[in-house]
């Protein structure tokens, strides 16, 4: 069953939460609201959240997924936290460019670059 596989895996690097999408598609409403719930919970756990989203496995995403990312970004900013996106495949990065979300969201080529881009 699809629901038995969590849509994200979460690890920690010091005070940074690293979230990796386990599915290659972020399309379905149910899947997206599940991911959003997990991210909102993570953000809620600390005062100034630092969140890194690793897109290494993602080959497709929908506008609903973009909406979820914007919502997460807005919540993190309200909490004076930081959000980074990394490892986005070229085809997916184009989606961010077309929607100009590459100007709103901080996107780094690799996970290590994203990790070192967080300010204290």
């Amino acid at each position: 069953m699809a629901e038995s596989i969590p849509p994200v895996s979460v690890t920690s690097q010091k005070d940074i939460r690293v979230v990796e999408f386990t599915n290659n598609k972020i399309l379905d409403e149910g899947n997206i609201s599940n991911i959003e719930g997990t991210l909102v919970t993570l953000i809620g756990e600390v005062a100034k959240p630092k969140l890194l989203l690793d897109f290494a496995n993602v080959e497709h995403l929908s506008s609903a997924a973009l909406g979820m990312l914007i919502k997460v970004n807005n919540i993190i900013r309200q909490k004076d936290g930081q959000l980074r996106l990394a490892n986005i495949k070229p085809q997916i990065f184009e989606v961010f460019v077309i929607t100009k979300l590459n100007k709103l969201l901080k996107i780094l080529p690799t996970r290590s670059e994203a990790l070192s881009s967080f300010s204290q």
Binding site: S62, T99, K100
Partner: protein, 165 residues
Amino acid sequence: MDEAGSKDRGPDRRSGSSRPDANGAAWFEFTISSNDDAACRAVQKKILDEVHRRGFNNQSVFAIKLALVEAMINANKHGNRLDPKKKVYVEATVTPRQAEIVIEDEGPGFKRAAVPDPTLPENLEKCGGRGIHLMEAYMNQVEWSHGGRRVRMVKRNEPDVLPRA
């Protein structure tokens, strides 16, 4: 007028029907209920398998998948408001040169011009409104008709090029 158009489609062919036309194009039509996610995915797979089989390049397959998913979400969610009594009609014609997809819902329709540009600075932080923008960026043609209830999209199988930003 629209009622007559609906009758032309014949009975509810939930599982879809297909026939090759005179030019060797693959042609499919499907009518699905608005809250039937499994049927939606099956329709998307059928069309994308055909696009793949016809030799579309990766960039075109990605574009068609993205536009198809967005158009079906729009029809189901924004058009039919997920009302299971309402149907979404999908028709696809695929040749080695192009894929043409028509999607129609039974909702109230909408005015394309009334949908704000999500890439304007004042809209960048809003969560919605990007589906139509992506469809229009990734497909070669996107035309709305029937008061916004029907969309016709065409993707030509061309060498890899970046979509219109």
